[in-house]
Structures are given as structure tokens and as C-alpha cells.
Amino acid sequence: MAISKDEIAKVASLSRLELSAAEQDKLASELSAVVDYFNKLNELDTSSVNLELSDSETTNRTREDIMQESKIRDRILENAPATEDGFIKVKSIL
């Protein structure tokens, strides 16, 4: 089942990836081949499989909500491309 160019464009937009026309073409054929391989799974009857969480997975591990000083704020900010007054600066959202 071939993935159409429209679908590739839509998925690229969802993934926040800017792709060239050449990249999109290549991905369309590569992903189609991989997705075809997925159809192998239709050979299996999974109608009786329950996707419930196991006993060990049903309780969350929690801790007390106590604030601690990380002392690494400056080192975190050093990695950001744009900062101002101790904040990371971003383009306007609204």
C-alpha cells in the first residue's frame, strides 16, 4: 500500500519536520515498503489479547512534593540559543 505524497506532507507537518521535495519523495517510497512489511501482523489472531496493565504496573511511584535547589540553572541556560534575564526566549505564541 503506497503512502501518498499528501500523507507524507501531512505526517511531516505533524512531526514538525521541514523536508525537501526530494526527501519527501524518498520517504514516500521507503516508508511504503516498511508499512507493507507491517501487514505481516495481520496473519495473527489477536482478538483474545487483553491490553490491561499488569499488577506491577497499576500503582504509580510517587514522592513528596518538596522543592529542592537544583543549582544548575546557569548550566541549563548556557545550552539555550536565546535567553534573557534568566529565561529561555522564544518566538511569540499568540
Binding site: L17, L27, V35, K40, L41, T46, A80, A82, V90
Partner: protein
């Protein structure tokens, strides 16, 4: 014997008895790296100043009487997906070039505490996406046994560094085979611990439900030493097991008499290279000679594990790689074009489009597609149901067997460039390793021979948290065959 050829065991004895100093050992490894890494490209970064500082600290501890810790003063290196505070960590991707982590992974801190001396960061497929280390944005690593061939992946740098004697051990990660595969290709030992045995905190995430950090070493005993230092509960990784690690050294040498080993029939079907099969069948005979009982076993769903894995893993990757957005760290068009008129989405799209390599984009796209509305049930949900069946296959098999035995890779090491044009053919390299990843079971790759001078690995699989059983069986086989002694000529 050259110092760089020592096992951890031998180096530890020599350090304890003052035959050598930590400085000599570390110096020998740094010299070895200078000599061979130009040909191998296992290292992305050699941090010799840091290493020498650690060496001084380790020698001090030795002099003060710290004898218990077998990793004290031992030269090693980390796969570049482990965050190392103050030292560049890139996941071998352009999108993290220049990123200096403000913290270290729990595994890094544990090994620091044990006194191991880290010499730097090791090359891998970018974001651990690959089976050959050819997807590194900084050039591939070569196989030390023949530099025209790949070292396997994604932890190719880790395996090549250990095989060539650049370090005495390395850390690595295994999500679908990335420790076992390169270990098999490079004639070294590689362990994928049980999911949840080793903390993933500070490890750059690939597929969060299968990522397993683990050791790559020259020998099985060395592997047990390193796992002892890496394993344990970590409050910062909520899937780590509260079950304390067992003593991996106890029972290591007790042999395999009476051990019941199953061979999954589905793994000895079409697709397995006859030369690899010959070596694996010879290993079966060796185990029988050592006293184990071997029988075939049917595991009907494991042939579907590759398809399930290549749906589930990219889905999780697409989520985990969403954080590389050009805002907080890493490559950003904001840096390249400050004060531009880009909108916020442009910053995301261009930073990610420029920064990510082809394979990362491929997997993000696959995952986003599989999770998107209209396809979620058919692909992701279906794959998760298949995963349950695979888990059950392993549980049923272990009702009648103590261990399972299988090949690691369907082929011997292949040439650089041989599989890069066809992503699906590269994905098929993982056909024998992904089922254990999906089920969470621990598995080890141990050397089992050579095909035209190129190494082949043997895989053993155990029930959850039974790494000690893996070590016992692998040790017995290793001592009987001694393939690890055939060092590369590099």
C-alpha cells in the same frame, strides 16, 4: 602482554599487587587510542585531561586500601548517549553538536563512584537508530577485524573500542539489539540486561519501553563485574526494579551440567546465513559436551517481533525526539539566524529538518504515521497486542527450559555501504534480537567463531532478572572455546 590487552580481572589483580599503577594503565589505553582510532573512529571525543584527573583519584583510593572494587582505576568509555556532566554529549547527531549536559546519567555516576576512569565518548548510530553505526552524523566506526566492514550497531563504537583494546570495557544501550549485535560483530561480550535492571536516567531516550543500558567487555567475568556496578534501583527511573541485584560472581564458574537449553525453531528458518548457522550448531554441540540438555522449542509469535518492534519503537521515538525543537538546547535556527522573522513553528520545523539525520527523520515519520488517527488501531494497538503474545511465548518456553539459545545476527559482518540503500534490509539485521527487547528478557552475546576472519556471536536468553544464569552458561562456553583470545590484528 600489552597493558591494553588486559581483562578487567587481570588489570585489577595487577593494580592490587602494585605491579602496575593506574597512570600506567590509563596511559597505555590513551596511547592505544592514539595509535588505532584514526583507522577505527570509535571515539567521538577523547577527554584525556579529565581521565588523568580520575586516574590520580583512583590511585589515591587504591593506596588508601580500597581493594574490593574491581573497577577501580580501569580505563573505559561511554557510548555517546550517556549524559556526562560538563562533557559534550551528542547521541552522534548534529542536532546535539555542542550540547554540554548539566548533569550525568545515573550509570555514569555509579561507574564514577566505582572508580572507573572514563576516557571519553564513543560513536554510535545517531540516537541509537541503526545496526551498523553508519547512521552516525560524524562518520562510521570500522570493524577492528577488517576495516572495510561494519562493527554492527548501534553501539559500534563501544564494541570496536573494547575489541581493539582502546578501553577495557564500555557502556552501551540495547533497544532492539544494539549491544548484542555489535558485540557479535566484534568478538566481544555484550549484555542486554532485563528491562528495569539498569537505570535509564540521563540516557538519551530512544524507545522508553525497551531501552536497556548494559556493558560491553572482553570476557564474561568482566561483564559480570560491570553489571554489578551498573545494576540497581534508581528513584529517578521509575521502571527500575526494587528487587536487589544478586551476586553475579557467585556461581559464575559452576558449569552447565543438567541445564535445559531451548532452541527456538523459528530462528533457524529462512534468512539465516548457512555459515552463521554452522557456528551456532557447533555451539549447541559444545553445550551438550559440557553437560547441558538441548531441545528445540516452538515460539510461534517470535517471527512477528520485527514487524511489531518496527511499529512500537518508531512510535516511541517520534515522541522522545519531540524535545529536540531548537528551543532549549541543541541545534537551532535561532542561533544561526538571530533576530529572524521566523514564526515559532518555523523554528521547530527548520531546526529539526536541518539538525536530524535521514534515519532519525525516517523513524519519526514512521512513528507519527503509525500513531496518527486512522492508523493507530491497525498498527500501534495491533503491535502492542502482538507484543503480549511474544511475552507469553517466552513465559511458556521458560516453563520447560532454563535458557534459550539463538543466533545474534542473520549474517556475518557486512561491508560498509552494503545495506545503506535499503532501510528495510538494514532493519532485518535485528530479526533475532527484537523479541527479547519487546518481552524485556535479558540476553547476552558471546563470541562463537569466525567466518572469513569476521566474528560471529552466539545469543543466550534468560527469564527476567536471571542475568546470573546467562553469565554461568556464557562463561562455561567461553572457557571451553576461548574465541575472545583471537584479537584483531589492528
Amino acid at each position: 602482554m600489552d597493558l591494553y590487552n588486559f581483562t578487567i580481572k587481570a588489570a585489577h589483580e595487577a593494580l592490587k599487587s602494585k605491579q602496575i599503577s593506574v597512570a600506567e594503565l590509563v596511559s597505555a589505553s590513551l596511547d592505544r587510542i592514539k595509535k588505532v582510532d584514526e583507522k577505527l573512529h570509535a571515539f567521538l571525543l577523547v577527554a584525556d585531561k579529565e581521565a588523568n584527573k580520575q586516574a590520580v583519584a583512583a590511585q589515591k583510593r587504591l593506596d588508601e586500601g580500597d581493594r574490593v572494587n574491581s573497577l577501580l582505576g580501569i580505563p573505559m568509555a561511554h557510548k555517546d548517549v550517556f549524559c556526562t556532566r560538563g562533557i559534550e554529549t551528542t547521541a552522534s547527531s548534529n542536532i546535539l553538536k555542542g550540547y554540554i549536559p548539566p548533569y550525568s546519567a545515573t550509570v555514569v555516576e555509579s561507574l564514577d563512584k566505582a572508580g572507573a576512569v572514563s576516557l571519553g565518548k564513543l560513536n554510535c548510530d545517531a540516537f541509537a537508530h541503526g545496526s551498523s553505526t553508519e547512521n552516525s552524523d560524524f562518520g562510521p566506526t570500522k570493524n577492528p577485524y577488517n576495516t572495510d566492514y561494519v562493527p554492527g550497531g548501534s553501539s559500534g563504537g563501544s564494541a570496536a573500542a573494547v575489541a581493539s583494546g582502546e578501553v577495557l570495557f564500555a557502556t552501551a544501550t540495547d533497544t532492539g539489539g544494539s549491544i548484542r549485535h555489535p558485540a557479535g560483530f566484534c568478538n566481544v561480550v555484550g549484555l542486554k540486561p532485563t528491562y528495569g535492571r539498569v537505570s535509564r536516567y540521563g540516557v538519551i531516550a530512544m524507545a522508553s519501553s525497551t531501552d536497556s543500558p548494559g556493558p560491553i567487555t572482553r570476557t564474561v567475568e568482566d561483564c559480570a563485574f560491570v553489571l554489578s556496578a551498573m545494576a540497581g534501583y534508581d528513584g529517578k527511573d521509575s521502571v527500575t526494579s526494587k528487587q536487589a541485584p544478586v551476586d553475579y560472581m557467585e556461581g559464575l564458574k559452576k558449569g552447565v551440567k543438567g541445564l535445559r537449553i531451548g532452541i527456538p525453531n523459528e530462528f533457524f528458518a529462512e534468512g539465516l546465513d548457512p555459515a552463521v548457522e554452522k557456528l551456532v550448531r557447533a555451539a549447541v554441540l559444545e553445550f551438550e559436551r559440557l553437560g547441558a540438555k538441548i531441545e528445540g522449542v516452538t515460539m510461534p509469535t517470535i517471527s512477528y517481533s520485527l514487524a511489531a518492534y518496527y511499529i512500537i519503537m518508531p512510535s516511541e521515538v517520534s515522541s522522545n525526539l519531540a524535545r529536540y525543537d531548537g528551543i532549549k538546547y541543541g541545534y537551532s535556527v535561532e542561533r544561526e539566524h538571530p533576530r529572524s522573522k521566523f514564526a515559532l513553528t518555523d523554528v521547530y520545523m527548520r531546526s529539526r529538518g536541518d539538525g536530524f539525520g535521514a534515519e532519525a527523520k525516517r523513524r519519526i515519520m514512521l512513528g507519527t504515521y503509525a500513531l496518527s488517527s486512522g492508523y493507530y488501531d491497525a498498527y500501534y494497538k495491533k503491535a502492542q497486542k502482538v507484543r503480549q503474545l511474544i511475552r507469553q511465548d517466552f513465559e511458556k518456553a521458560f516453563e520447560n527450559f532454563d535458557l534459550l539459545l539463538a543466533p545474534v545476527s542473520p549474517t556475518p559482518p557486512f561491508r560498509l555501504g552494503e545495506k545503506t540503500d535499503d532501510p528495510l534490509s538494514m532493519y532485518l539485521s535485528d530479526i533475532y534480537t527484537t523479541s527479547m527487547s519487546l518481552a524485556g528478557n535479558p540476553a547476552i552475546s558471546v563470541p562463537c567463531g569466525f567466518v572469513s576472519g569476521l566474528p560471529v556471536g552466539l545469543q543466550l536468553v534468560a527469564p527476567h532478572f536471571k542475568e546470573d544464569r546467562l553469565f554461568t552458561a556464557a562463561y562455561a562456553y567461553e572457557q571451553a572455546t576461548k574465541f575472545w583470545e583471537q584479537a584483531p590484528k589492528i
